[in-house]
Amino acid sequence: MAQDNLNKKFNWGLMMIFVTAFQLLTSTAAILKNGESVNMNLVIIFVAYIGLEWIYFTFSSNIFGQNNFELEIIAFLFSGISLTIVASVYPGESMTFKQLLSIVLGLAVFIVMLCVLRRTDIVMKLRMPVAAAALGLLALNLLLAKVNNGALNWITIADVVSIQPSEIVKLAFIFVGAASLDKLQSSKSLTKYLIFSFTCVGSLFLMRDFGTALIFFFTFIIIAFMRSGDVRTIALVCVAAALGAIMIIYFRPTVASRFSTYRHVWEHINESGMQQSRVLIYSVSGGLFGLGIGEGKLKAVFASTTDLVFGMLCEEWGIIVAILVVLCYAFILFYAIRVARTTRSAFYAIAACAAAGLILFQTGLNIFGVTDILPLTGVTLPFISRGGSSMICSWGLIAFIKSADIRTYPKLSQTILPDHPLYPPDIRIGRRNVNGQQNGRPQTRRSSNPMMPIPPEMKTEASPKRPAKQAENVPADIPISRPKRAAGTAQNTSAAGTQRKAPVQSKPTQRKTTAATAQRKTTSARSTQPTTARRSQAQSRTTSSDRRTPR
């Protein structure tokens, strides 16, 4: 319901105006604080940034017909905050320009990923190369890495650009994890994924980047759980990991010293507890409304714009702003869980939840780490911490969530033919829906649940309330299989699934061993469905989604 309301009533243009006003206000403060005279280059950077936001917004709403901007608004807001903080701390404009470049790159990655993720066939083709590239990158990292703040997680190219491969690998990790869905029941595929995951986590351990290793592990748990629902295996993995963690604490003094500081920062106020104690002191010094941008003292502390940026937010922007920002991270996961219910396939649901879970987990590690509620692990705050790798990764992560939202590709839906064999409608669903029921609940539950937005295409095809529409659009041969189809579709997450079956059957390479095959056979009538029928269905979807937009 909330989402429907957003679609109908929410004026995203107005929201963009608010965001722009906020950014104008804060960037002006930052520019004025940056030096004695106004640095025109900074003005240009901020104008360019705000212009970039509006270009993106105009293009996607007018040309691509998007009407949901929750994630982009948050990402723009956060990126703007990071840009403003960098501008307020570093004299001159070079750092700010670098940060703007990072945001541009991040946005580019976001758009490219949205395009790639739209095409599930491409996703499937890219799966292995991406996995290989990720491992290669980590291996390269291990070979070339320089020690940086006790961790080896940086590669410096020509002494100009230093990148943190582990940030990029985060994207690959989710991509591969969610895309390896084809052989759900096969322990072999799980083993492959396990090997991939543990190679990633293991390399991070070798790099002594324990915070990121922990993030990967948490993401792995989300993906593994959402894929299999196998609580026993996951419990086993967690126990193994806990044992591993104990070993590390035992053998690695740097990690152990972090734990000795944990909850004792005031006793180590000028040594190991320095960063946390400064964050605490200056966070409360800022009060609820902050001391003003550029007025803080935390900025002089090492890593203030990266790891400790939450403290800067509290001190200069105020605890209220900091809390609102942090609540936005929680909203991202909330949003991901909600869109996961209406995704076209499980790939999107898993990718969205894993990405959002990763963001919130990393946020938690960061803000609770610097405020001494959890041990300090030195991870960045997504979007807001300064740094290109982190920024690009953050934008890439929300691309996973965005692509899961069925509203993301409204006008392009005709060309979306997620007909790759690896993306049948969810295999497990297919099997259970043979009886037209799931968990004993009647199949009509979805449409009767007011909290559940019904995808427009589903209303057209499956909703009993619109029989006339169906008669218009659906070719005559479809109703033959209608009773079973209707059962499957009403229960299904997406109507797109109904179309996938035709090519599934036409492909000789399709695996026959999967549980889905059973259902496919029952719906074999569809394999004879002419292409025109599919086309007309797609058109009906288009018209219905068009109807949705401007209301």
């Binding site: 200056y282 010094s285 800022g286 001391l291 007025e295 605890i319 996961a340």
Partner: protein
């Protein structure tokens, strides 16, 4: 509904856990904000460990004892006032742990949860603090101490306002001596002896023994004692400062007769004497505002009979805190009702709102019956009239008791405790001059100089 998406609901648990963490964080911000902002590494308030930005501290007449200007902490222009009020105000590096600058640093910084230290930024000052001290009187007291170690405190026993609080040795915070830490002349320089000192009370403790006797021995005022220069206890002698012969109770106090008071103490016994001492503020933790006082201790649980005799005349293991002694003087002077001493009058916000901190408040720690207080009051008056001489404290209607506290190594500490009976000048005084011999010769003149200034 699909299993995969249903499993996503587990992530709601994670969101809840995250929000709980956030709530915990905010709660700790709220609860510890005061304490955290006051840390010496907070560069809004301190620079290189030195307090730089904070509100001003004023004496009772509005003289600025210390204030901040352009990121610098500036003390009063008079070197003598700087030295005399150093322990009350606090040093730059907060080594003086009872200094207002240290204890009230979060108030001086103007910190509150809603605004943080914003006021410090906006008005370039935090809250100001008004003290009840009089800088000129403190200066007189500092000069009267004449380089000797010790302390002097004067307070109004009707209102509780401390007008004079000086602790020596002291130093000039604007001109800190280079080799202070290794110089024995500056031993214990960071301690405010008035608030944190513990001294052997010597004969001033006879007041407590006398109060206990008045409470517990009905005919004490008609009793006579025979002083032969020492008192024979079962297991040793208590030596007297003279041979006083036959004295009554009042004359025994006038002459500070050890024999008589050792006899009284032993007659009272451990329990009664301890009970009285504890009613008079011994073995009890005390505070002035947020500043902790050092306890006065009286413990005769393991004392032999002769030790109890010694304890009755203020030797043995007994230690008193000058501030607690001053409160006792106030109770005696004020007809049994002890008013708590305080020296922090109010906090003034940058916008001019004044919040009272100290007010006349009855002390629960020191309790004397009015009739007994009045009897002791008269006896202490007779000490001055009959023994020390009215000319020692002209025009003050002074009551008092001297003490010469023998210490293990070095010369005795000289004590004077007392008060003015004049209703116009209701001031009580405590003075300790270390290693300076008899009470009257060393502490007496210091007290007179200060009290003349106070009561002028």
């Amino acid at each position: 509904m699909n299993n995969t998406t249903k499993r996503a609901y587990v992530l709601y648990v994670f969101i809840v856990a995250f929000l709980v963490g956030l709530g915990f964080m905010l709660a700790s911000f709220y609860m510890h904000g005061n304490e955290w902002t006051a840390k010496k590494v907070n560069r809004h308030i301190y620079t290189n460990g030195q307090l730089t930005n904070a509100g001003a501290i004023y004496d009772r007449n509005g003289t600025a004892l210390v204030y901040s200007k352009d990121g610098k902490r500036i003390y009063n222009e008079s070197s003598a006032i700087r030295k005399a009020t150093l322990h009350a105000v606090g040093d730059k590096s907060s080594f003086i742990s009872t200094g207002v600058q240290y204890v009230y640093s979060s108030q001086l910084s103007g910190y509150d949860f809603v605004n943080g230290v914003y006021n410090l930024k906006k008005y370039n000052k935090g809250n100001d603090i008004n003290l009840t001290l009089d800088a000129e009187i403190c200066k007189t007291a500092y000069n009267a101490m004449n380089g000797r170690k010790g302390t002097i405190g004067v307070y109004n026993y009707k209102t509780g306002e401390i007008v004079c609080m000086v602790s020596t040795p002291t130093y000039d915070p604007e001109n800190k001596p280079a080799k202070m830490d290794s110089d024995s002349k500056y031993e214990g320089v960071y301690m405010n002896r008035f608030l944190s000192g513990q001294y052997t009370p010597g004969s001033t403790f006879k007041i407590i023994t006398a109060i206990s006797a008045l409470e517990n021995i009905p005919d004490i005022q008609s009793r006579t004692f025979n002083c032969t220069g020492k008192y024979h206890a079962a297991d040793g002698d208590v030596i007297c400062n003279g041979v006083h012969g036959k004295v009554n109770f009042e004359e025994a106090l006038n002459n500070s007769c050890n024999s008589a008071f050792a006899e009284i103490a032993i007659e009272l016994g451990k329990d009664k004497l301890t009970k009285t001492a504890e009613e008079l503020g011994f073995n009890v933790k005390g505070k002035i505002g947020q500043i902790n006082l050092t306890k006065s201790t009286f413990d005769v649980s393991k004392a032999a009979e002769v030790d109890l005799g010694w304890a009755g005349i203020g030797q043995y293991t007994t230690l008193v805190n000058p501030c607690r002694m001053l409160t006792l003087m106030g109770a005696i002077a004020n007809g049994g009702t002890a008013i708590k001493p305080y020296f922090i009058r109010s906090i003034v916000s940058p916008t001019g709102v004044e919040t009272a901190i100290g007010t006349a408040e009855q002390s629960d720690d020191v309790r004397i019956e009015a009739s007994i207080a009045n009897k002791v009051n008269k006896m202490m008056r007779s000490n001055v009239v009959n023994h020390y001489g009215e000319s020692t404290f002209p025009n003050l209607k002074m009551c008092g008791k001297t003490g010469t506290a023998q210490i293990d190594n070095g010369e005795s500490h000289s004590w004077f405790v007392g008060f003015s009976q004049n209703p116009e000048t209701p001031y009580a005084v405590v003075c300790v001059v270390e290693n300076s011999g008899s009470g009257l010769s060393a502490a007496g003149p210091v007290v007179n100089k200060v009290m003349q200034k106070v009561c002028k």
